[in-house]
Amino acid sequence: MSVIPGVVAINTFREAVRDRVLYNLIFFALMMIGAAILVGQISIGIERMVIINLGLSAISIFGIIMAIFIGVGLVYKEMEKRTLYSLLSKPIRRWEFLVGKFAGLLLTLVVNTALMTLGLGAALYFVSRKFERGDATILVAVYFILLELALVTALALFFSCFTSPMLSTLYTLGIYVAGVFAPGILSVSQFTSNWELGAITRFIYYVLPNFHNFGVIAAAAHGDAVPFTLIWHNTLYALLYVILILVASAAVFSGRNLK
């Protein structure tokens, strides 16, 4: 397997790390977790639940923001700033470039999420001085958040190949929100008597990336176990869907004339 995507990935990671905007986001996320501790003090008896709920939600929201914020510029910026001119004259295939950018941003997100999760763990320990067995679900929830982020990153990258950051943000955000409400779309098909509408919504349901699949924050808050089959299926789902988006991105980008 070619090592070129890895080279691009490391450089993308380096760029993200040196982008000081990121640090503000992480700071805010950590602050949220701090706030969660405070809120936990107010609602006695369910401090752990509130901390886990708010903390995981914060990690998820900030991860999505980062994924979109950086993702929509991944390819666009390089085209606009013409840094691609010298890069593409090197022995690198266009798809290797795309995969590298994707991997670099994902790596950034993994590192950030890991740091924030440590913060959450610290907050949890601070409140209850111990970890419970059910807390393993928190790790599953974080893993699912990472799967979500991979999907969002891939989407942002795809749009970045051919449209401006502002439009890319709208499209990516739109698909994400639709994906969160996916079960609602399915229920339209289940409860309507209009056959065409039912067929269309069913189709949309299966084509849209379903972000609802990854929502186990409530389970983590209650310490309930997540079945292994779900972990396995979600992993496969995210993997296949990401590959799908990257293949489509490569198809679009490999034909693009740079200005």
Binding site: S187, N213, V226, L230, Y237
Partner: protein, 305 residues
Amino acid sequence: MSKRGQNKSHTRAVLLALVAVPALFALCAGLQMRIDADTFAMYQDKDELLLRSGALLKKLSLGYEPLLADVYWTRAVQYYGVRARKPGATYEQLWPLLDITTTLDPKLMIAYRFGAVFLSERPPTGPGKADLAVELVKRGIAENPDEWRLYEDLGFLYSIHLKDYKKAAEAYLEGSKNPNAQIWMKVMAARVAETGNELETSRLIWVGVYSSTKDEMVRRTAVQHINSLDAALGLKRLNKSSEEYWRKFGRFPASIQELRDAGLVGGTLEDPAGFPYVMGPNGVPQLDPHSPIVLESDQGAGELR
């Protein structure tokens, strides 16, 4: 050397995409079905609402109340819909969801109707909270005094679930005062006052619910109740025939066939699901055990034994 410009890698990439993308979509759809099965199995009964207060949400919604109301309304419908198919489910969050929905948008009429029907449904098809349903509908009436149909819902609740026929009649009467109200509101008022506890009246009310809505879920529930009532009525008629038999022959019939042979009943004797009625001990007719119809607990045909 060819004349046409070549971009071989682009052509290759597009071909790959044309093949791989639909294939991957299909695989993902298959996975999605499996994931749906997984999440269904692990569905939380303790599904929490993080923000319970409708008033607080109203403040937080920054002017987007109707939109937020729609979101919560969708959640309420989904919440009920998913649980209705899962045995052993509870419906604790249904009232809070509807409460929030109608606080955010007091004019969302379908929410009141939905709540009236489904909050009052007894387990396993609902939380059995007719009192909360009444509270919901009364709020609806307070916010929408011109909507006479809400009085119909109120009458429905008092009559069917709370068995307070006096209040039911009052509700129908109050609703009938609206110049737009249909004439049968008055009819129902009288009917309920006189014969509120009778099966036929209940059936009439449910037929009213069915015909006044286009909502699939409500209609489905109404049909279920109507079928149940029809079965009960059928059993009641059979029970009467059973008693006649006893008067004639000094003993109870051992089977429906005996009633037939005695000329006391005729025609197809099936419940609305198509299952024939059967004779139980002491001449008490019953539903076929395979029949999907569920009689409501106060509709046994054996009141006279």
